[in-house]
């Protein structure tokens, strides 16, 4: 593997590339770990701003120009319906891939991506950045150590008016989009659930898609250990963005948009512990708090750092294709079992038509 900077191609120059990947790439580029060698974007209008950010990168309109000879790593940040096709093609060309979430539209596609990675002996990592958040890692460790006792139930909610500055209406077009709020932010939460609590044995799912893509959805999950949990997501209602998990010995609450904070309650106490996470102090000093843990943006950089190290052969991808597969399967299972959410404000005529449109949408 190269000792010189890893040559990176950014495939897709939309909002996520501009707002998240570009700043992270600049940080690691300044450290000499990588160089942005290529930008791939079919729409010249969309790539213009990133061309200014990375003036040395070659600009291509499709991925066919990318190969082992030109780049080491491709970040696939194109619309999700292109993820599988582009990832497999790049892996076959000997290029490692960091594929933005959702990994693929179907589990079949995801499995083909994993197989392509194994056959090409190239890295396949998936952009599930929340696993890199210090609070998410702490929750996993606490649960693994049984700090909360036996899990009783959990309730995850996340939502608000949709404000992601997407430029294409394809984002909401059935057929072009893989789905709505579930496929989007739901992928993150379902991935965390599997990572923290294991795979559920039973899924119930409802949403409000009536011929289009869902704005709201609700998932009920049942686990082999006997506990249940719900996930409520919205691009519409201001839901508290948080993960609440209750066990026999206490509960924990993580506000998703405060990745450096955690709130805990232990049975038998009359207080909650709510505070900022810090790293362990450096060196064998007195007990205490080290520096503040990484924030969201720094965690995004850490994700990319891990992938670059994996491409160099110095690490394993923290979220490889196989690790991300369970969330793809879970999203798929939700859509397979979809029913219409009750919307008690609709009159009888509307409710009947809504049910019909929902069923027709499911059949497509």
């Amino acid at each position: 593997m190269p000792s010189s900077p890893v040559r990176v191609a950014l495939v897709g120059c939309g909002a996520v590339a501009e707002l998240s990947y570009a700043p992270a790439l600049r940080v690691l580029s300044a450290e000499g770990l990588l160089e942005v060698a290529a930008l791939v974007e079919p729409n010249p209008e969309s790539s213009r701003r990133l061309e200014a950010t990375f003036p040395d990168a070659r600009v291509h309109r499709d991925t066919t120009a990318l190969s082992e000879g030109t780049v080491d790593l491709a970040i696939v940040a194109s619309p999700p319906r292109f993820h599988a096709e582009q990832t497999i093609q790049l892996l076959r060309e000997g290029v490692s891939v960091l594929c933005e979430k959702p990994m693929a539209a179907t589990s079949l596609e995801a499995e083909a991506m994993i197989a392509a990675s194994a056959a090409a002996k190239r890295v396949l990592a998936i952009g599930l950045v929340r696993r890199f958040l210090p609070a998410a890692q702490t929750v996993r460790a606490l649960l693994a150590q049984g700090v909360l006792g036996d899990i009783q139930d959990f309730h995850f909610t996340e939502g608000g008016r949709f404000r992601w500055p997407t430029r294409s209406a394809d984002y909401f077009r059935p057929g072009a989009a893989n789905g709505g709020v579930l496929a989007d932010i739901g992928t993150h939460l379902l991935d965390l659930i599997v990572w923290w609590l294991g795979e559920p044995m039973d899924v119930r799912y409802e949403d409000d898609a009536m011929g289009g893509v869902e704005l709201n959805c609700r998932v009920e999950l049942r686990f082999p250990e006997g506990f249940t949990g719900t996930v409520r997501l919205s691009r519409d209602c201001d839901l508290p963005s948080r993960c609440f998990i209750r066990g026999t010995r206490g509960w924990l609450l993580w506000s998703i948009h405060a990745p450096e904070h955690l709130t805990l309650h232990f049975e038998g106490t009359a207080c909650v512990v709510s505070g900022r996470l810090h790293e362990l102090p450096a060196g064998p000093s007195q007990p205490g708090a080290g520096r503040r843990v990484a924030n969201f943006e720094q965690s995004f950089v850490e994700q990319l750092r891990n992938v670059v190290a994996s491409v160099r052969g110095d690490a394993r991808p923290f979220v490889g294709g196989q690790e991300a597969l369970a969330a793809v399967r879970l999203v798929e299972s939700c859509y397979r079992h979809r029913t219409l959410m009750p919307m008690g404000w609709l009159n009888e005529v509307e409710a009947a038509r809504a049910g019909k449109l929902s069923r027709e949408g499911s059949a497509r």
């Binding site: 909610t157 939502g159 949709f162 404000r163 992601w164 500055p165 997407t166 430029r167 294409s168 209406a169 984002y171 909401f172 077009r173 059935p174 709505g180 409000d208 898609a209 009536m210 011929g211 289009g212 893509v213 869902e214 704005l215 709201n216 409520r232 919205s234 691009r235 519409d236 209602c237 201001d238 839901l239 508290p240 959410m341 009750p342 919307m343 008690g344 404000w345 609709l346 009159n347 005529v349 509307e350 038509r353 809504a354 449109l357």
Partner: protein, 365 residues
């Protein structure tokens, strides 16, 4: 009939899209300012368009082949006023037959005098800039209509509530956060209008022959108070409205507060302060103290008191209202009869609260 809905992602626009599409009343074309605002209407398979309300050409292209345009764009005074001419002119360019403009009953003020009707004179001296902007918007539209070809119907709804309404969600949020308050125990008349009743009026306005150039006040059939509106929300969330305190003072709008602060720091004020006798200074301070942020004396030995409830000027005026606005003109010319009773409207409102994730005690209500 094809109808363009401008402001389709807002509270009224989104319900209008939903209801017209699901009831098959018209072929709906939602129009929003940015792509992200299409998330709502995209629950349905519809011909959604992007157009800026200030841009006549993009609007004209979005209105193409539409017979009716509903202008349901909400916003600050600059948005209210800045979108009027572009929308009307674009409708004309696109060959639209009728423009339905959602104005507001607040053109008559939040506390209208008894006897107010559509023919009452409109003032530009309201204390709330929104009211003045709506008055100016109506006047601009009338001037455009006088020399244009697109028919115009102006609707003046009262307090529009329903699913996704901020009247509902903000009171629910305030209850949960312990910040809810009433004005005058909620005894003031709330000129309520359930959103489905507004849509019924829009439906009438689409084709009513004698409506061109007219303005219509709209309301629910029942005369209700603010307590009547808030009680179902409180009960659904497990609160007793009787325990919710009254606001203790009027908070002037933030602009007035900022101006006062600036005036106090000015060199002139400082000079006056050193010249005026102590008594005069104290009197002046007392006269302007209601414009200041309330301050609480804190000490390490005491617990902070619960937050003080302060009504905005708008809520103070609304809460003092003693007059139910009439809608008989809408009945006469638009055939408007509110199809949803206030009781049913409240049940639907509570159903939405449950849907929206509020901890509703019995979401099946």
């Amino acid at each position: 009939m094809r109808i363009a809905i401008l402001g389709a992602s807002g509270f009224i626009g989104s319900r209008l899209v939903e209801m017209f599409h699901l009831e098959g009343i018209a072929e709906v074309r939602p129009i929003a300012r940015r792509v992200s605002s299409l998330a709502g209407p995209s629950r349905f398979q519809l011909d959604c368009r992007i157009a800026d309300g200030f841009d006549r050409d993009s609007l004209a292209s979005a209105f193409a082949d539409c017979e009716i345009v509903v202008h349901a764009v909400a916003g600050a005074p600059d948005v209210i006023l800045g979108t009027i001419a572009p929308v009307y002119e674009a409708a004309e360019k696109a060959g639209v037959r009728r423009l339905i403009y959602l104005s507001s009953a607040s053109v008559h003020g939040q506390n209208p005098v008894s006897g107010t009707t559509e023919s009452s004179g409109l003032s530009l001296r309201h204390a709330i800039p929104y009211n003045n902007a709506k008055v100016r918007a109506e006047r601009r539209l009338r001037r455009l209509r006088a020399r244009g070809t697109v028919e115009l119907v102006v609707l003046r709804p009262g307090i529009v509530f329903g699913p996704r309404s901020s009247w509902v969600s903000s009171f629910a949020d305030a209850l949960i956060e312990g910040k809810a308050h009433l004005v005058d125990r909620g005894r003031g008349i709330c000129n309520s209008l359930y959103v489905d009743n507004l849509i019924e009026a829009i439906r009438g306005a689409m084709s009513a022959p004698g409506a061109d150039g007219e303005a219509f006040l709209l309301g629910d059939r029942e005369q209700i108070t603010w307590a009547d509106l808030y009680r179902p929300i409180a009960e659904a969330l497990g609160f007793d409205l009787n325990t919710i305190p009254d606001a203790i003072s009027v908070a002037p709008d933030p602009m007035a507060r900022r101006l006062l602060k600036r005036a106090r720091r000015s060199p002139l004020a400082r000079r006056l302060s050193s010249v005026l006798p102590k008594k005069a200074r104290r009197a002046l301070k007392s006269a302007t103290s209601s414009l200041e942020d309330p301050k609480v004396e804190l000490s390490a030995w005491t617990w902070p008191p619960p937050p003080r409830s302060i009504a905005t000027l708008e809520m103070e005026l609304l809460g003092s209202c003693r007059y139910k606005l009439p809608f008989d003109k809408a009945t006469r010319l638009l055939g408007y009869e509110p199809p949803v009773s206030f009781d049913l409207a409240c049940r639907r409102m509570v159903a939405w609260l449950g849907f929206a994730g509020y901890p509703v005690r019995d979401p099946s209500r």
